[in-house]
Symmetry: C2
């Protein structure tokens, strides 16, 4: 199966009090996004790599790649206001021969090769595959009436790369945008497609705070 | 309000393929449990500190404290098979003058002073206070029929220290043990007591894997 990866790098840096969006922050001397791209490339050099980012940063990124001598081939696409529209822009850039598509958060450089192969292997028998891990902490459900304990074994934390049959993903992204679309699985699920879960890896955190960054640095060293 | 902390150090090391239970593993040259004790002591030297651990390790720990010259005063109590019974053993050791009790996981050395004061401040108006943080990742509900997207803003991840009015906690632990008791909030809630949530801190992870340990090391340095 010929595969592509749409890497969503939409961050604008607000949460880390940084003017630089998270995906460009340096981790061991290289922007996080570059680590992420290298990881997919080293897994399979034939993957089509598509990076979607805010239009303001497209030239910045291209310059940065030239400065760093980063030569892994990838398409750079201008994204939309919400993640949903960014993925849609990425889909429009798929090569004709692509059969399966992984959608990945740029700020998750620590997905493992095992996680990725769990996803791609499962795509042989399923059309929508998502890596997930068990909850370690207890969780509580919260609403206007208060909060209550729920059985954590009934929930899983969802990661990326989320992997799909191309046609299914394209069809799913023809829907109207809804606020409840927090990831691709939620988009695909709402066209009545069931999601198959595979094991993710615990280190595969989404870098949103400076302590996440410290964590990734310690894993990389 | 006179306070005590019951530190549950029940781990037996199975998840990290270590013969040494997690609470004894070294973090920057000192056992994790020692960091945890020091943190409570530095917050308030008047807190009664009670550590509950598997009977097999009580002497090991006492020896270790002597070797390391660790002089922060604390009681060491032999725990039970489940966390529930360990907390119960800890409760039996409370000084008569104690009015509020925090129950804490030994392997969470990264709770912040702010988290602890959030809890203790709220105890002035509530009988059961628990620190919690929002979910960053999407979650899915899983059962025998499959899995489905749920709105993550309706859930919070629960941490420790979980803090209670002493009488309430003692009363709650008179119940029969149930398998659904994954933390103290769930025990207390089942005697019809509502739980008040305060902000926890994101770094306050429960050390269960070697990558959690790396994370804590990077935070400590």
């Amino acid at each position: 199966m010929k595969g592509a990866v749409i890497i969503v790098a939409g961050g604008t840096g607000s949460r880390m009090q940084s003017t630089l969006p998270k995906q460009f922050i340096e981790l061991k001397g290289k922007p996080i996004l570059l680590h992420t791209l290298e990881k997919f490339y080293s897994y399979d050099t034939s993957l089509q790599l598509i990076v979607v980012m805010h239009p303001d940063y497209v030239e910045y990124w291209k310059d940065l790649c030239r400065t760093l001598g980063f030569t892994v081939k990838h398409d750079v696409v201008a994204g939309g206001k919400e993640r949903f529209f960014s993925v849609k822009s990425g889909l429009a850039r798929l090569r004709d021969d692509i059969e399966v598509v992984a959608v990945h958060d740029a700020v998750r450089p620590l997905f493992s090769a095992q996680t990725l192969s769990n996803c791609f292997d499962a795509l042989k028998n399923h059309r929508a595959v998502v890596p997930a891990i068990p909850l370690i902490d207890s969780i509580r459900e919260v609403d206007e009436k208060g909060n209550r304990h729920v059985d954590r074994s009934r929930y899983k934390l969802v990661q990326t790369p989320q992997c799909f049959d191309r046609q299914l993903l394209e069809k799913s992204y023809l829907q109207e945008y809804k606020k409840t679309f927090t990831d691709d699985a939620s988009v695909v699920e709402s066209v009545d497609q069931s999601i198959f879960l595979v094991d993710g890896n615990q280190e595969n955190v989404k870098i949103t705070t400076s302590s996440d960054l410290l964590f990734c640095e310690s894993i990389f060293s």
